[in-house]
């Protein structure tokens, strides 16, 4: 069911004649109780090739109240204000150490429909990569019907690839929850 702009009551209105109490009241209450939202994650490793912004192939749908789980991300089916967030854990790479142990790492919420980054968590210069890096991009703002939201990751190195860590707690996650009209 969709949200219906609430009816403006008039003196003398009769339920079922002038106003549909089901669509105007009951369905709207149900809609507000369970608004659009989805959460997806990935359950297998995925290499992030150096210098390539990579869309994470999310393949497990944790919940979805509005048919938002489309492809490897989430699609907006209902326009509104959303809280969108993600989590990407770059595995530790102890093989690199000392002065060469420098990489950039970035995770972002990307609107592939509008080709627009909605929110990023990044460390753009040299960082210590011999330890795990946990990035949590967030976005809070409007989405319109047709917006396709993806979770993307990026890293640079002198060679090789990194995989986003995948286990019970560190699986890449993307969620989008409607919070207002």
């Amino acid at each position: 069911m969709a949200w219906t702009n609430p009816y403006t009551y008039k003196v003398g209105d009769l339920a079922g004649v002038d106003v549909n109490m089901t669509t105007d009241l009951t369905d709207n209450l149900k809609w507000l109780y369970n608004p659009p939202g989805a959460r997806r994650r990935k359950n297998s490793a995925q290499a992030i090739t150096t210098n390539v912004i990579t869309t994470l192939a999310l393949d497990v749908t944790v919940y979805d109240t509005d048919n938002m789980a489309v492809g490897t991300g989430v699609d907006c089916q209902t326009a509104g204000d959303y809280l969108v967030g993600g989590n990407v854990v770059f595995a530790a790479d102890p093989g690199l150490s000392g002065g060469t142990n420098k990489r950039a790492r970035m995770a972002r919420i990307y609107n592939s429909d509008r080709q627009l980054s909605l929110g990023e968590h990044d460390i753009l210069g040299a960082i210590e990569t011999s330890i795990q890096t946990d990035l949590v991009p967030i976005y809070r703002g409007s989405l319109v019907v047709g917006d396709s939201v993806a979770l993307q990751a990026y890293q640079t190195s002198s060679g090789g690839t990194l995989s986003a860590a995948v286990d019970g707690t560190n699986a890449p996650v993307l969620y989008a929850q409607w919070i207002g009209g």
């Binding site: 609430p6 403006t8 507000l32 204000d81 809280l83 753009l124 990035l135 207002g180």
Partner: protein
């Protein structure tokens, strides 16, 4: 009847004030106020989002207790008197977001720091009500401590929290830069700084 929030032309009215009784006639005024307007309120609750379109210089400061009050001068969204809704002088009013109703509020910020050397950067949750104060410690990106290898590093720090707040509480975002002489929160392409507040529910 308790009316404790104005959101544009929509009020939240405590439904406990409305008592339906068998055989009673319910007037249109009551239905519009307590059904229509409350539904609209819940569908489009108090919410604001703001950004800033120019760089802000963060002077070096060695004290973790100090910070620079970030301004977010351009309103992206405001359902009514939240962004810039309070006097927080000497800081610009647009640095603050005012709660218009008590309840659980989502507060979020995204602060992109430009590339620099040898710097540690943090953001802090601020409260302006009754004088400025840090109310939410410090938050920094992973490994955002001083870069011991002396390489340039930029970073974007996202921050989100949900906290119960009273009405008319004014919140803001602070930034701290240590070690280096100056730091900017910059408009780097599409990485704009953002500050938002959104009412999630009563408490």
């Amino acid at each position: 009847m308790l009316i404790n929030c104005r959101r544009g032309n929509t009020l939240w009215t405590d439904p406990a004030a409305l008592q339906f009784q068998n055989g009673a006639k319910v007037g249109a005024t009551v239905l519009n106020r307590e059904i229509r307007d409350n539904l609209r309120f819940l569908h489009d609750p108090p919410s604001a989002l703001a950004t800033h379109d120019s760089n802000q210089t963060i002077s070096k400061d060695d004290a973790l207790s100090d910070f620079y009050v970030l301004d977010f001068s351009r309103t992206v969204k405001d359902t009514g008197e939240i962004h810039g809704g309070g006097d927080i002088g000497p800081y610009p009013a647009t640095a603050g977001m005012r709660t218009t109703i008590a309840g659980a509020w989502l507060q979020q910020a995204i602060v992109p720091f430009d590339v620099s050397y040898l710097s540690e950067r943090e953001i802090k949750g601020l409260q302006f009500t009754g004088g400025i104060a840090v109310v939410d410690g410090f938050h920094r990106s992973s490994h955002a401590r001083t870069n011991s290898q002396g390489d340039a590093r930029g970073e974007t720090i996202p921050w989100v929290r949900i906290v119960p707040l009273p009405a008319n509480d004014i919140r803001g975002v602070g930034a701290l830069s240590m070690v280096e002489d100056s730091q900017v929160v910059s408009l780097v392409g599409i990485r704009q700084p953002l500050h938002g507040m959104h009412w999630l529910g009563g408490s």
